[in-house]
Symmetry: C2
Subunit: 329 residues, 2 copies
């Protein structure tokens, strides 16, 4: 049995190109404890960091090996008692048709909670990331004012809606009028700012005249600077990502107003969702009820075919797509 995989060919400088990847066909290891046929896998901004050969919280991707990351699929062969054929599982084994490995490489999921793809989105790491940033890092309280950048993205779209379930005033930024329309019409945010069509600093001041209690940071750059200017005293910034910086060839300077964190006694904290996986079970119970009851709308862009994975990944940085980007195979 053969499996198509997407391999990393070169470590990109700046923005990656499709030529940095190759789709290859390999022979599946028949002796593996488990063989899983992936149905969908995830492309995520953080993967850009793993393409760099450096010490970080995750090891760099290896060249000429598959891109790793979250995937969901069905067991087609099992030699271990924990899994039977037909079980749905998630893995971190990434961009490939068939995932093989040991039992510990796979987590069984309860598809009564949501469709398999939801486990890569609202019921998966993006959802837990939004929840962690708001409630565990920023300590968001009922009725506060929250600003979410990349608000129509995988994490941001869930953060906005989770904050609304706590009666918060939510302001989201996004890069197109379609996204802004989705944010106000579907996600129910109070104000959506198209940061490409005006001055973000001014728009924030207008939409949060009393200031921002919590900033959920996904972007960096001018977004962070505008948010700092508009934070309330004792505001909190949960730093989830800084996508504007991920393709920088030369490191870019930080915000010119960082010393505001003294005058405003701001707490700014970077976090990694992996430190909060202990909450996954409780989180999934809460979130599946919210999705089922229509209180959270899942935003998803599905791209068909493993060959399209590199293009789908690159679309994360142009902001062309809405919500969580998944590749179906």
């Amino acid at each position: 049995m053969r499996s198509k995989e997407v391999h990393l060919l070169h470590r990109p400088t700046g923005l990656a190109t499709e030529g940095d990847f190759a789709v290859r066909s390999i022979e599946v290891d028949d002796n593996a404890d488990l063989i899983v046929r992936n149905e969908q896998f995830s492309v995520d901004p953080y993967m850009r960091g793993r393409m760099i050969d450096r010490k970080s919280y995750l090891p760099p991707f290896e060249l000429n090996r598959p891109m790793l990351g979250a995937a969901v699929g069905k067991v087609v062969r099992s030699r271990v008692p924990e899994f039977v054929v037909g079980d749905y599982v998630t893995t971190m084994l990434g961009w490939r048709e068939y995932a093989t490995g040991r039992a510990s490489d796979f987590q069984k999921i309860d598809v009564s909670l949501g469709s398999p793809s939801t486990f890569l989105n609202a019921l998966g790491t993006p959802g837990l990331t939004a929840w962690t940033g708001l409630f565990k890092v920023a300590n968001l309280k009922q009725g506060e004012t929250v600003f979410v950048s990349a608000a129509a993205g995988a994490v941001g779209s869930i953060a906005c809606q989770l904050a609304k379930t706590r009666g918060c005033r939510v302001i989201g930024s996004a890069g197109s009028s379609d996204k802004c329309e989705w944010l106000t019409e579907v996600a129910g945010v109070d104000s959506a700012i198209n940061y490409k069509s005006g001055n973000l600093q001014t728009a924030l001041a207008e939409n949060a005249p009393g200031g921002i209690d919590v900033y959920f940071e996904n972007v960096g750059g001018t977004h962070l600077e505008a948010a700092l200017d508009n934070m309330k005293t004792s505001g909190r910034i949960a730093v989830c990502g800084m996508i504007e910086h991920y393709n920088d060839i030369e490191p870019r300077p930080g915000p010119r107003n960082l010393s505001l964190i003294i005058q405003k006694t701001i707490r700014m904290e970077g976090f990694l969702v992996s430190r909060y996986f202990e909450h996954f079970f409780d989180y999934r119970q809460e979130m599946s009820a919210l999705v089922r009851d229509g209180k959270i709308h899942v935003a998803e862009t599905v791209v068909s075919g493993i060959e399209k994975a590199p293009k789908a990944f690159l679309s994360l940085f142009s902001g062309a797509k809405m919500g969580k980007i998944l590749v179906t195979i």
Copy 2:
């Protein structure tokens, strides 16, 4: 009775000059509840911020009015039951020979705990600032590695020594070999780095090969960038000040490596000591014992004569002086 005062004449652009101040003689208000003869007053970096006409955590200084700030003196007339002639008190009424006002403008001090000038230094706001940053903001633990910038300054010199009382490994940076010698020989820090004589980033990596748990930030600029590069995972940065930026005419960009706070899950928190004044009483008990037992050495530069106050203030930004800078009158 007449009193000399130092008034602010102009709001400076960039670094202030002596011409921005004027020494004036005024008639003391004989009807005041209390009249205090100041013996010493404090010049502090934060005063630069109050010279700017803007909304911040403290109102701006008024033009043609005395510079405000911490002072210590003795009651020479009292019409209120709380104070008698001869009592030592502190005030925030600043750069003047005689301070007059209501009882609530003065705090009686217990000079059995330390000399009057200590109440502007180790037993005063600089000491409480060091203690707050280390223990309330950065949550410093026994045995951790701490980096303190402006380590021979008023706050830094106490922060270094307080951290040593908790068995920490302490690295301090300062701008001259004299200051570095004082840090290692008197304050007992483990490594003192003269940031003007080499590369701070490299020196930190050499002196904290396992990384920094807590950075006590007084400087900003390249200090913050070098510290971020050398922080441990889950390190904490207590942001007390960013003196390098206080005289900027155009806001200067922040650190180019700020996104490290995600990968290293760093918490960075600005603080103002005024939020922690409830701890003053307990703090003074602890600190007075440490000073008395020779566990903390007080660094002080005393300038004589109220006319020298502007020059003393300006010396804060050139880094010419050691420890807390006080003006005696």
